[in-house]
Structure formats: C-alpha cells, structure tokens
C-alpha cells in the first residue's frame, strides 16, 4: 500500500499540472492562434464581413432575413431558407428546429411553407425544392440551392421591374459548384446574390 502522504501528494501535483496546462493551452495557445489569424487571415478571423459605403451589411457566412419588420418576406429580395434561430436568422441564437420526421408540427410547417412559397412566387407547390421547405441545422445557413434561387427569379424581377432573363442570368452567375468539384452541394449565397442585385439596380 502507498503511504497516505503520497496519495495526497498526487492532488498537489494534479493542481500544479492543471495550472501549468491552463497557462500553456488555455492562454498562450489561443493567444498565439489569435495573433497569427489576425495577421495572416484578418478577413476570415473577423467573420468574413461584407462592407459597404455605409458600414458592414453582414457576413457572407451568416444568413440574414430579407423580411419587413413583421417577418413578412420582401418580394424585392431573394429569400433564404426558413430559420429556427431565434425569430429567424438571429445570429446570437444558432440552432435547428430539432423536430422529428414524424412530428405533426413539422409536417404542418412544411405544408404551410409550401403553399405560401407557391403563392408568393406563382409556382406549383410540387416545383419547390426541399431546402426551401426545411430549416437548416444552424438557423444561419447563408445558402440556398440553385433550384430555390431560380424559382424566385421571376418574382424578384417583377418586384424590381427588371427583365426576368437578366435576373435569371444573375442567379446562374452566382451558382457555386461543389467544393473541389465533389464535396458538399452546389449553393447560391443569398446575401451575395442580393448584393449583386442591388448593384445592378443602382
């Protein structure tokens, strides 16, 4: 058997070890990474913010709502996916709906979205892609599918008095292929698309 004082001594060693590791791994390491990040990749390290003459308008990585004060979608802007983050695209409260595949609430929500999106865009409910009907995992998904963007092009063009073909062409130009050609899914970044749209009009 070990003597009592050696067993107690392990706790003293443990405490000292934790203090040393905290200094190295909890303070020096993140500090060093922050310095390197801020020096070498300042844009990314600070949140990939998009600036305009009037200040930052958002982050290319964080989706935002294109709705009026009541949460009604504005036809002038391409709309992102439904969001479960707070009241929608609340970047301080990321998260998904966590509704299960057989949950009646989810089924009702999908059917409601289907009919309102169909009416909003003047398309058949069957034409609406899945990403437009479902909330993302983060609630901050900055992307929609190409089909979802193209489906909205006519409505946006009408609302802005632009030729539909021009808006569709703009969407086509904003479709991002899969990373390295085989990873993930093709996407359209909604903020970047809407910024390009605003630039076109201006």
């Amino acid at each position: 058997m070990t003597k009592p004082h050696t067993a107690a001594r392990q706790y003293l060693v443990a405490l000292r070890a934790l203090i040393v590791f905290t200094a190295v791994l909890g303070v020096l390491y993140p500090l060093a990474i922050t310095l390197i990040g801020q020096t070498v990749f300042p844009g990314q390290a600070n949140g990939s913010l998009v600036s305009s003459p009037t200040g930052n308008v958002g982050s290319t990585l964080i989706g935002q709502a294109f709705t009026d004060g009541n949460g009604t979608p504005l036809p002038r802007w391409f709309q992102g996916r439904p969001s479960a983050a707070g009241d929608g695209y609340d970047a301080g409260a990321s998260g998904g709906s966590n509704l299960g595949p057989e949950n009646p609430d989810l089924l009702t929500a999908i059917e409601q979205r289907k009919s309102s999106i169909a009416a909003f865009n003047g398309v058949l409910p069957a034409a609406i892609p899945a990403d437009a009907l479902t909330t993302s995992a983060s609630g901050l998904d900055p992307h929609i599918s190409a089909a979802n963007a193209l489906l909205q092009a006519v409505r946006v063009a009408d609302a802005r008095g632009l030729p539909a073909a021009d808006v569709s062409a703009l969407v086509e130009s904003k479709i991002q292929g899969r990373d390295l050609g085989f990873l993930g899914e093709p996407t359209v970044n909604v903020l970047e698309l809407n910024l390009a749209l605003a630039g076109k009009e201006g």
């Binding site: 050696t6 392990q10 060693v13 443990a14 070890a17 934790l18 590791f21 190295v24 303070v27 390491y29 993140p30 990474i33 922050t34 990040g37 070498v40 990314q44 390290a45 949140g47 913010l49 200040g55 930052n56 958002g58 982050s59 990585l61 964080i62 935002q64 709502a65 294109f66 004060g69 802007w77 983050a85 970047a91 301080g92 990321s94 998260g95 998904g96 709906s97 966590n98 509704l99 299960g100 595949p101 057989e102 949950n103 009646p104 989810l106 999908i110 609406i128 899945a130 990403d131 993302s136 995992a137 983060s138 609630g139 998904d141 899969r178 990373d179 085989f182 993930g184 899914e185 996407t187």
Partner: protein
C-alpha cells in the same frame, strides 16, 4: 443522388488516412516509449513536482488519472460559478450549480455534452481557460491510458505500467498541441473566426440590425475535433458557419476526428513488435465504420417518413452547403469516434437513419473510437474475442503472449458491462419514477410519441459513452438530467479506466508465453471477422429491446 459524390469524399479521407496513419502512428509510438525528455517537458516536471524517471504501479497511475480529473472538474465548476467576475465574460452571469456540474463533468470526461446553449451562457474566459484546456487534457488522459495498456502487453514481469504525468504531458505537448495549432490556422483560412472582439452589429440590406458573434473559435474548434471532444463554441456546433464554413472544412474536420484514432492501432502494433496486430485492429475498426456509414447514407438519401417525404428530402436540420452526403459522413465520424460534434441535427434525421448514430455509440465507440479510448475499448473486445474463441476450442486463451486468465477476463467483462448498465438504468429511471417521468415528459422531451423515448435514450447513450452528441430537441438543463447525465458521464469514463488500468497491471506482471499450434493468430482475417462479430453481437443483444421500443418502432410504422 449520384453515387460518385457519396463515394469520392470517403475515398479521399481513406487515402489521406492511409498516408498519415503510418508516420503519425510511429511518431506516437516513439513519443510514448522515449526515455528522453524535451527541455520544456523537464520544465513542466519541475514546476509540477514529479520525477519523470519514476515508474508507477497501476494503482498509482490510476490515482494520478483520478486526481488530475477531480481537480479538473473542480476548476471548470468554479470558473463557471465565478463567471460574472471574470474578464471577457461578455456580461454573462454565473452559471447555475446543476448546469455547472454537468458541464464540468462533461468536459473533463471528454464527453462535451452541452446542456447549455453556449451562445447565451458562456463568455470567452470560461470557454478558453476552462473548456479549451479540458479539450486538450481529457484527450491526453485517454491517450495516456491507452498507451499504458499497450505498453503492458509488451512488458515482461513488470510491476509498473509507466508514469501518468509523463504520458499526459507528452500527449498534450508533443501530439495534440502541434497538430491543433496547424489545424486551427487551416480552419481560419477556411473562414472560422478567431478574435476577441465580441459581437459586431451590422445593418442588413433590409435595414434591420444583426449582431454577428465573435470569439476565439478556431483555436477551440481545432482541439474540439482533433481530441474527439465535440463541444461547440456555438450552439449549432459544426453546423454553425463560423465553426465549419465550407464543404472542404467539413472534410478537413472529418480527417481530424479520425486521424489519431486510426493511427493508434499502428502505434499499438509498433509497441508490441508486430505491426500485423495493429493492422488487424485497424481493419476491424474500418470495416464497422464503412458499413455504418453506408447504411446511414442510404437511409438519409432515401428520405423515408412523413416530413422528409412532404419536403421532398431529409433536409430538415441539414445545411445546404453539406446536403445529405456531407452530413451523414460527419455524423457517422462523430458518433463512431467519441467526438459528438454535429453538422446536422440528428433529432430531425429519418427514424431509422437517426438510429445509426445511436447504434454507433452503443457499439462502445470502438470503430475507431475516441482518442485513446477507442483503442483501449477495442483491445478489451479483442481480449473477449480470444476468450470466446478459446472456449470454442477448449484451450486457455492468450493474446499477444499474455494468458487471458480469470482475472483478465473478469476485468474485461466488467468493462463492457459499465456503459449498458448506465444507459439502460438511466433511461428506465427517467420513465419509471413518476415524478421524474412527469418532468421528463413535460419539460425535457420535444418530439411526441416514440421519438421522445429515443431522445432520452440517445441522451443517456451519449453521456455514458462519453460521446456528447444529442437528439438536441431534448431540454437537458433540468435538475434530473443535469445530475443523472453528469453522473453517467463520470462513471462511464472513469470506471472503465479503472478496469483498463487494472488489466494493464495484470498483463504487465505476466511473463510472455510462447505461441503454440493452439494459439489463435490475432493478426489474420479470421480474427478480424471474429472481433467484428463479437462487437456487434454484444451490442445487439444488449440494446435490441430498447431500440425496438424507440427508433425501430417509429421507422417501421
């Protein structure tokens, strides 16, 4: 769904791991066998007051593990309770007692279950000084215990199994720190944030105000993934665009999760002097992994169930940039290791698809498992496999020249009983005690019906196996779940470690027996097949009834 886009990312990861596991496995073998100390390590040993040359008995080694972890729980608990007076706390108040206990237990046990929502609970001080540090050291503890067991197989008539403080320091400073520093910088390049500037207010295109969060995310993300921890800087975890911005960072994170666990079998083979032994363990791990990944991908791509059919695809709780394929690859990786990070919400998976992350954890997270814990879990199963094979042919079983006698098999058996006991007892108590049941059903469970049972089962499976992923609709920040899951995490981590170190002590003390014609060769495909079979049979027999009540019943409706 084009099969190429499902297979090409997997092939890429396989290729990277094939290239990386040899040098990394050999490097780790040299790190944990070396008799030389780096200058910085000698400084650490002086500061903490240990003689690095001294060797510990298994009991002493275990006391080191437990003392270090106990101090860790106390510090993380205290930091959360004192949050209101700490700098860089973003104005968040002290974390309540029950939640602080749960979170402290969670991060020290390498589980990283999150009963809290980080976005609205924790400032930078607790995240860095408390959680980031435990991300490193809990992973280093796992590697240390695994290496103690591996060295015991190679030892002859030894009363000692190594020095815990040396193993801990080397694991943290020579393996985890350099890899995570590189990984963090790659992640920043991909768009993961790393700043201490708090939230930035922006005026959106429609004139609304959006508050874009900040934080030292990349430094924590790297070790969260590499150390198979899984606790997100943000509530949405690796689904959050600031944690996992692109499909390529997603693949990078998958590689990081698998890198150390798939290299450790090589380390094992090198240390015991027969790389074929390591290759056999690796083959068993890889085989189970590929089968599970294939099943989950087919189920999610199939998109069965009311809501997925209505929406035209199982995209609820999945990010557009990942789609189904990059989500299922990540989910399988995260639950086959002990990471528990999520890039999609498992609660919203199809009924049968959601069962697979659950099954992955129930397998004991051995394919390839958490850093260290995966290897020692698989070696325990290997001991059981040679024992059962020995019974079949009526010979005393041996593994790597060590006799598997009554003491060894008792320890191995106790090891595999711990987590099922915790999972099934915890789930049963949640529904059997009337007061708890009322609380669980009214407060905790989100989804009605069978799915709600699965949420609770998932929580206890995740906590007891130290995974940390969730069917996250479950509100776990309640007195019952904070306490029960906290206790499950602590017992689920440290009781198995007691048995592993006791086994290491028993094996190290033995001399080596020469192989005879009756010895089962443990570096051949036959053994790999037996090992996979035993792993699956043990899990299936234990959990089939409860799975039949939850996800199976829901999926077959």
């Amino acid at each position: 769904m084009n099969a190429w886009f499902a297979i090409a990312p997997v092939l890429t990861v396989v290729l990277v791991l094939v290239v990386v596991h040899r040098p990394l496995g050999d490097y780790m073998a040299s790190v944990f066998l070396s008799v030389n100390h780096l200058r910085i390590e000698r400084g650490v040993y002086r500061l903490i007051g240990v003689d690095a040359r001294s060797q510990q008995t298994w009991q002493s080694y275990l006391r080191g593990v437990l003392a270090f972890s106990a101090v860790g729980v106390l510090l993380v608990y205290a930091l959360q309770r004192a949050q209101s007076v700490l700098p860089y706390s973003l104005g968040f108040p002290a974390v309540p007692e029950g939640l602080s206990f749960n979170t402290a237990a969670s991060f020290v046990t390498n589980t990283n279950w999150q009963s809290y929502s980080p976005d609205v609970t924790l400032g930078y001080a607790v995240q860095l000084v408390g959680l980031s540090v435990q991300n490193f050291v809990s992973a280093a503890v796992g590697i240390a215990v695994a290496m103690a067991l591996v060295r015991a197989f190679a030892a002859r008539r030894s009363g000692t199994i190594g020095n815990f403080w040396v193993d801990l320091t080397r694991g943290a400073l020579r393996v985890l720190l350099p890899l995570s520093a590189v990984a963090a910088i790659v992640l920043i390049a991909g768009g993961v944030i790393q700043n201490v500037s708090g939230a930035t207010e922006v005026t959106t295109l429609t004139g609304a105000v959006q508050s874009i969060p900040g934080g030292p995310t990349a430094s924590q993300e790297a070790i969260k993934i590499l150390g198979t921890n899984g606790g997100g800087f943000f509530n949405a975890n690796s689904a959050h665009p600031f944690e996992n911005p692109t499909a390529w960072t997603n693949l990078f994170q998958i590689v990081l999760m698998l890198m150390i666990p798939f290299s450790l079998p090589r380390t094992f083979g090198t240390v015991v002097g027969d790389r074929g032994q390591g290759a056999a363990i690796l083959a068993a791990m890889a085989g189970i992994f590929v089968v599970s990944l294939t099943a989950l991908t087919l189920l999610e791509a199939g998109g069965a169930g009311s809501a997925p059919v209505a929406a035209g695809g199982a995209l609820e709780g999945k990010e557009q940039r990942f789609g189904v394929l990059a989500s299922t690859f990540f989910a399988t990786t995260s639950t086959m290791t002990s990471t528990g990070a999520v890039n999609s919400m498992h609660d919203s998976y199809t009924s049968l698809g959601g069962m697979l992350p659950l099954l992955n954890m129930m397998l004991g997270e051995v394919a390839p498992g958490g850093v260290g814990s995966g290897l020692y879990g698989m070696l325990i199963l290997a001991v059981i496999t040679v024992f059962i094979a020995g019974l079949l042919v009526g010979r005393t079983p041996e593994y790597l020249g060590k006799k598997i006698g009554p003491r060894e098999i008792k320890l191995a058996s106790l090891y595999i009983l711990v987590t099922p006991t915790l999972v099934l007892t915890g789930t049963a108590l949640s529904f059997a005690v009337p007061a708890i049941r009322t609380d669980v059903e009214s407060t905790s469970i989100l989804n009605p019906g069978l799915h709600g049972l699965t949420e609770v089962l998932y929580a206890f499976t995740s906590a007891s196996n130290n995974n940390g992923s969730a069917f996250a609709g479950l509100t776990a920040d309640t007195p019952w779940l904070n306490t029960a899951l906290g206790v499950a995490m602590l017992i689920g981590r440290f009781l198995p470690i007691v048995f592993v170190l006791a086994l290491a002590g028993a094996l190290a003390a033995q001399d080596s027996v020469p192989a005879t014609t009756g010895t089962l060769p443990t570096n051949r495909p036959l053994f790999v097949g037996l090992l996979v079979g035993i792993t699956i049979i043990i899990t299936a027999l234990t959990y089939f009834p409860v799975l039949a009540l939850g996800p199976l019943a829901e999926g077959l409706q």
